[in-house]
Amino acid sequence: MAEELKVLDRACLKIYELTMGACAASGGSRKKILKVGGQSAMPFLFEEGEIPHAPLIAAEVSDIVEDDCPFVLKNALKGLTDKPVDWAVEMMGEAGADLICLKLQGTHPDFGNKTSKEAVELVEGLLKKVETPLIVLGSGQADKDNDVLSAVSEATKGERLLFGDVVQENYKTLTAACIADGHNIIAESPIDVNIAKQLNILISDIGLPLDRIVINPTIGALGYGLEYAYSIMERARNAALAGDKMLAMPFICFVGQEAWRAKEAKVSESEWPGSGNADTRGIMWEVVTALAMLQAGADILTMRHPQAIRIVKKAIEDLMKR
């Protein structure tokens, strides 16, 4: 038998290391600082380079929960969905999430139209209850997001949170706010390496340092374009490690949001006979999607079901054992 061949790739560039949260000494109030990125190898290939930080799980918490929230999720989050702060604390505690991803869905003009002031109060309230930094997302309505997120950014100046998402059509306002207030930003592109890179160039042209950008490559859940997302992330990461600094940012993957949109996660067994136990089906859908994204290079996963979070958290621990 021939000796086993080992092909090792050596990266010529490291992924930018991004810091979330600032302690009192650095102008914030966080007790726990989190870091992602910094790796010089493809996911979990420890022999090819450094992988200094484990991927993080951010629990998705929303200021309103829509009526069509899957029943499995509703049951798991019973009594929490109308109290975002309690919900967040629960996720950080029992479920073991690393941080919270707060979506200000209720500020959307069609879903409650909450004011910037209400959003600021919620974020400030939440920051008092958790020690970690936050991910703060808008509602997806461009004009409203520009108002709300700018206000939240200003109110949390110095905390070094992660704000999102900016897109090619609307990136200037929030980027300017994040530069002014010392936050990080999520740059969203529609499953396209070129657009991801273009948006990073545009953001850095305004003046945000490259180590404060996280790429949201847009993903699909298992069965809904997951492999497409996988290949785009793989391409971007390969390009980054080969020296393209405009793609050398950590990835965030919105796993919970996507997985719980799948029919397989939502539908009860009575509505869809033969589809298997509905209680575990949704959880597994989220877990499998999350595991695939870890292999694709995700640095931050956002997730919903506490049970799914526990399973993936354990998987990350195992994967990080070298």
Binding site: K172, N194, K197, I201, L202, D205
Partner: protein, 645 residues
Amino acid sequence: MDKCKVLFIPDNKTVVVEKGTTLLASAISCHIHLNAACGGDGVCGKCKVIIKKGDLHCEPSGKISLEERRRGIHLACQTLVESDMEVEIPHESRLDLSALSSDELKLRLRGVFAEAEDIFEAKPRLGDDIFSYAPLVSKFYLEILKPSFDDKTSDCERVARALEEKIGLVPHLTGLANIRKLGALLRSSDWKVTVAVAHKGIAPEIISIEPGDRADKNFGFAFDIGTTTISAQLVDLNKRVTLGTKATYNRQATFGADVISRIIYAQEEDGLEKLHHAVVDVVNEMIESFVEEYDIDLNDVMCLSVAGNTTMIHLLLRIDPTFIRQEPYVAVANLVPVFKASEVGVKVNPRGLLFCIPGVSSYVGGDITAGVVACDMHESKDINLLIDIGTNGEIALGNVDWMVSCAASAGPAFEGSGLTCGLRATRGAIETVKLQKNTLEVEIRTIGQDKPRGICGSGYIALLSELLRCGVLDKNGKINRTIKNKRVRSGDSGYEFVVIFKEDSSVEEDIVVTDADLDNLKRAKAAIYSGIAILVRHMEIDFNQIKKIFVAGGFGTSLNIDSSVQIGLLPDVVREKYIFVGNSSLAGARQSLLSTQASKICDEVAKNITTFELSADPQYMDEYMAALFFPHTDMARFPNVKYGN
């Protein structure tokens, strides 16, 4: 059916049409041509007319403002005649048909007209003299030996024998009509005749016989039939000189701005017929104006050599182009035989011939073959690149050993079509733009130094480059809304930049460039650049290995290379590599007219070019997406481009 009379002013032309005919169709039937880039779909909003009198039925259109509606303005293509009418056609709505004035011509046709001299001197290989002189049709005066009892050779053979003695080749006489007339003709002309001989087949062919000596009068026309512009040259085939050059618009623009919309129109009832007549009419009118101006006899014009894209050639010959647009995109004919010009409807000597420069594929036409030959790329040991920027951006890359090409559908943006204030490169079109960095003051130059009327392709390229340099645009090509300046404002469709305020323009409207225009231009430049990049990538060469880059096209004559590189339209290589060749298609057609050798080389070259079908290329979409950015997503490809934020 009821008939209605429609009077068009200020032309004072009346036409009787069936009730329910569109105003656009009514105008065309009395030879008034309106601008209708969309082909009468009501989407381009260019065919505005003012209804003075009469009843009509009109489809509502977003292109007409309330204010305009109040003034009686309607889109001609959406307006049906319901009674006798009186309609005024404003100047802006007209498709300007008059041959361009000579000043303008010099500007537009620098490459083939004024500056051609420069090119000839500096690079003699680009001139006509690279090929041996042997015109496609030559004329010979023959004094034929009369028959006698000792020599009872037939009339036909007698002519052939006389010619053989003169040129050393055995000719054959073609055309039954020629032979039927021959006996009487020879006798009435006292056996002194002039024969016209075509040299395209294996043996020379006598195509006409005339009485007397007319051998010193032998003329031909070279034509470049472009989607937007038709250019022509009158060539004295005996003296080997170009007597004159003219250009005018392709009247088919009434039926759609690009080849695809023309092909679609050709499928409509009588569509092919109308497209065919539109182009043949222009060709005939151009020939007539030459004949008058240079005082030559139409009967002394024995041949035409025509280069054009594949669709244009199909339409000229009235061949159905439908299949060019259908998978797997095949033309009816790329290499077409020689026809009698009269068969096509072109009015020269009824026995005159029409040669078409062979095309390569359905989207890479004879214009590229002609360009490759004119630039002598097929002979060069070095790798050269030809970029013909027109409505279709065609690209050829190669050397004496190999040649590849592709066609990128850039759309008519660089010819000024489909843009808010777009104009073809004509009088009053802004062709250069300079911006003051802080004040954003605009300095322009127009073609013919007229008051500005709109912006042409080269003007848009200069404008884009300046807007990027001054930070008015981000690299995505979007107007920076935070700029406080009177020129940056919110308009009807997104943001816009005012290039010229209406007090300084001749169209009573501000000349602007909008976010939508910018998007359109970005897509056009991306299509052309990615076409170039794909060819280079497929051949696994580096841009730096390319020795010369020939930039061709009607608009290319006043193109600023540096601006073109700044916006990422052309690759960032040493500027000295770039050479303007003007209308290389027309140059190639002229060379073919003067030399059967050139014509044969065109056939060979066309056969040997490999076409890459971009739409079937998996890498093209990725290249294209990467090029949809200023200058490019991969900034390493444009190391010398800095916008200075």
